[in-house]
Symmetry: C2
């Protein structure tokens, strides 16, 4: 089959990849896949990965150990877990010690004609949710992980720093809480999308120091942390949503004196993401900037790498 | 009056300081004062402070705007607050935007014959609590701040890194929760005190990675953070109790992937600290290593600076 291949920080298109055979898992024909910041970071070497990248997708089950799944349109959770390690047993399966991660850790991903996942990872997509929305289920779940971890009160002043691919989805979900949300956005298109939904913008130099109850850092770059640190109030919660290569220098004494809480936040729950897509309370489709056939996946990556680009989709 | 004076990172003993006069506050004769890690850091320039240092004390009220306080033996909260700023109004008075802090920020401290504090800061000391225990109220309250901020479950595996002045008090308070507590201690005397209370030690190289539900970093040095980071389990809580000059380099991506929470922790509640001293569930007195008259305060500081030294007291 045709697939994108990542090896030693180089991407290429291959035609010689065998269609995957895992009788214990669902074989899924990929209908639509999305390029995520993590895919770009993987190529930069954030984590050493060799194989087919890609983890945001909607597809159709074409073979499965349980007949009932065949023909279903599905999205899939990206962590394939063991179920027996301490993390799994204590209810933290996304932190499974033996996990493989779709297109990220020891498991071929979705920039391909076919992919596989355990049945336990799959969620049927409601008929009313088009592929163009369903393909956002994974990053929307990641946005909801913030509220899974941190209690956002309707009275909270919340500052979101970064309005890119993930930031847009975070903005939409936080706005649903009724909180006093302001977003630091850099690019024109990002700002337009937020304004169109009635979400308020704030210029970086207008962010009041030590004022915000919750700050979400979603810029994908270490510079966002400095602003977040200045903005958070004493005993406030700073949510880190970005993964990026490299380290950040932190003055921990200041964090201790202000009793700040920092929360790392990664993969989230699919079921509420699908509910919000079905009810259209979240609409990710305006984020789509371009759509490429799989044969032009390398061009798709080039496009996604351009600054300020929102979602680029690949259609196998 | 006689007092210790800190100026440009130099300590000296002065005889020419006027007895403080603040009719709106209590005038307190200092009976006993303790040297804290923060005092040593202040001298190293962690924060620019000129004046009388010292904030751990027990004293006797000799004058007060309310007659009933005169003659009372008291301990005192160190943050003198405005009561009207947003932090005060929202119930975070220790983060008052206009606060002065005893012996730390714009307020002369307790390494002196007399000090002053607002009446609202004072707590009478129960008769059964001797000065040698009462002088630990402030750091004991800081230890309890951990449990004020973080829910420690009786089933939690808790790792405490650092068993110095503050670490010993943290160990004693955490042990009261029934949690599975282990302490990384460096010095012989530190270990003996813990073992004498039935608190288990663990060698640094035996600390299992990614295993601990809660890790408390109380070493007072950036090196402790690295061990804490390795030890914490996914979605665990890492409590930062140290303030020190300088910055720490952090790999935030790893914190995000493991969804770790970091909580800065500073001043705590005095009332439960006094209850635990009164009931003798906490006994800080074995921490006392030496006691110097105020006239020998500079020797007291030299002693406190020696590695592994626990509590050094100054008696005006």
């Amino acid at each position: 089959m045709q697939a994108v291949w990542l090896e030693e920080q180089r991407l290429r298109l291959r035609e010689d990849i065998p269609t995957p055979k895992r009788p214990d898992e669902a074989l899924i024909r990929v209908r639509l896949a999305g390029i995520c910041g993590t895919d770009l970071e993987l190529r930069r070497g954030y984590y050493p990965y060799t194989g087919i990248p890609g983890h945001e997708f909607v597809g159709e089950v074409v073979a499965a150990p349980e007949e009932g799944w065949v023909g279903k349109r599905v999205v899939g959770e990206i962590n394939a877990v063991c179920g027996v390690c301490e993390q799994c047993r204590e209810g933290r399966p996304t932190h499974c010690e033996n996990r493989t991660v779709l297109g990220i850790v020891n498991r071929d991903g979705v920039f391909a004609e076919y992919t596989t996942l355990p049945l336990a990872n799959l969620h049927p997509v409601p008929d009313s949710v088009p592929d163009e929305a369903a393909v956002f289920t994974e990053p929307l779940a990641a946005a909801l992980e913030i509220q899974q971890q941190v209690h956002i009160r309707p009275t909270d002043r919340v500052l979101l720093i970064g309005a890119g691919r993930l930031g847009q989805l975070i903005a939409q979900t936080l706005a649903l809480t009724g909180c006093d949300l302001h977003v630091v956005a850099r690019h024109k298109r990002q700002k337009e999308l937020l304004t169109a939904r009635g979400i308020r913008l704030i210029a970086e130099d207008e962010v009041q120091p030590k004022r915000w109850d919750v700050v979400v850092e979603a810029t994908g770059s270490p510079a966002g942390f400095d602003l977040a640190r200045r903005a958070i109030r004493p005993r406030g919660v700073l949510v880190m949503k970005s993964t990026y290569k490299g380290e950040v220098t932190v003055n921990f004494s200041a964090l201790v004196v202000d009793e700040v809480t920092i929360v790392g936040s990664r993969c989230g729950p699919f079921a509420p993401a699908l509910r919000l897509l079905e009810s259209r309370r979240v609409d990710p489709t305006p984020l789509i900037e371009a759509r490429y056939p799989l044969a032009q996946a390398l061009e798709a990556f080039e496009r996604a790498t351009q600054r300020g680009t929102l979602k680029v989709l690949i259609e196998p």
